[in-house]
Symmetry: C2
Subunit: 247 residues, 2 copies
């Protein structure tokens, strides 16, 4: 059943205009009595029935709440040093399917990609669109947002999280394997985890030291060296396995 | 340090010709005393030193064995119903990084892609090349192979595995969450697990019934609906977290 993210708080009867109206009426050619899933910006998800539809709006009313909890109990934000090419698109698409709460892209010391404000703006819009499509397809109950920040802004935001991890290749090489499990054990429901991933070439010693001084902890993701876009998939899958399958 | 997969059993002094010789001498312009990692087809991995190099061969001798165990304790084979476009390339590349032991591609009932023998042969070569590059990059100690089989061949191979799972979207929708953990708990080191993933559109009821009758078990991968190429990443990451970080 089609899924729509509605940028307003939950209410049992809803009037929808704009893009979602267009998609229901023109793309899907829906009519009265058709049913869809609606996800409100407070993460309430309902099955709803169309009561009326015209050229400007769709009227819907709640049939029932969605029963299955589809969001990870902790909120995980993936921060990626600007990677090359279309890798950020892949991270956002698959990361959304795998349950990421939000994405941050920042200019890493090793980043080859340099995007000016205009290009960055365009890329951000494109990435948010990808996140929305992936959220609909994977039946999310929250819509992840993608933001571009400077290193300074990234670090200023550390205070908003209950834990900050650095996925560090050298930790993996040295066989570090306790930190991720420990962090999962410590975090309670609704707490927030930020995990920082370097671009191709990794984080530099300067960045590592800076982030560590600000409270971030180094964390290995198993004994194989993962590409910059693969490491977030590992982290999110491990979180889902730990919180959603094991307990 | 550069990594080479050598298709022969371990020996402390080695003579290398062919493609790896070309890469060492021409691409990397290596000379005597340079060091590389060599991985033999019995999964022995060593650091080796070049003792001599000429236009036809490279002579190397062992410096030391690689200490870190980089292979998952269980051998996981990923079987994918032919997906669209370049998705198999993505599955093989990222799946190799994440530790898959082997890959099988089979024609699923819902597969849109139809490859004739010639196209299939070419695709298989390409995929094995991708697996090799990913194995080198991720520091694997075993080189995953990619094979194309019929449904009949896939099922005949069930007997070679200690457990067979079906990643099934409907299981996820219904909140099934015990099977994966149970399977991991039951498998011992060096045992073999086959996991079957449908193409886009999923496995059909006919396929599910067929595989189940042959002993495969349905398995959910968390409450979000994963794309056909994302589900194997989840499975492999969860296995690594379970076997390599938690215990």
């Amino acid at each position: 059943m089609q899924r729509y993210f509605i940028d307003q708080a939950y209410q049992p009867t809803v009037e929808i205009t704009g893009e979602s109206h267009h998609h229901m009426s023109r793309v899907m050619r829906m009519t009265a009595e058709d049913q869809v899933f609606l996800v409100f910006n407070d993460q309430t998800a309902i099955k709803a029935r169309i009561t009326a539809i015209d050229n400007e709006k769709v009227m819907l009313e709640e049939v029932e709440k969605e029963r299955l909890q589809r969001e990870l109990p902790i909120q995980i934000t993936i921060a990626s040093g600007f990677p090359k090419g279309e890798k950020l698109e892949l991270i956002v698409q698959k990361g959304t399917e795998l349950g990421a709460h939000a994405f941050i892209a920042f200019p890493g010391d090793s980043s080859v990609a340099k995007w000016d404000a205009k290009k960055q703006n365009k890329k951000q819009q494109r990435l948010n669109k990808i996140a929305q499509e992936a959220a609909e397809q994977s039946h999310r109950q929250a819509l992840p947002k993608v933001n571009f920040t400077s290193e300074k802004e990234l670090m200023a935001a550390f205070a908003d999280y209950d834990a900050v991890l650095i996925a560090y290749e050298e930790s993996a090489k040295q066989g570090e394997k306790a930190q991720l499990v420990q962090t999962f054990q410590q975090l309670q429901a609704d707490q927030k985890l930020l995990v920082i991933f370097g671009p191709e070439g990794g984080l530099t010693p300067r960045e590592i030291e800076l982030f560590q001084t600000a409270g971030a902890k180094l964390c290995g993701l198993g004994p194989r060296i993962l590409r910059t876009e693969t490491a977030p998939f590992y982290l999110l899958s491990a979180a889902s396995f730990y919180y959603e399958l094991q307990y």
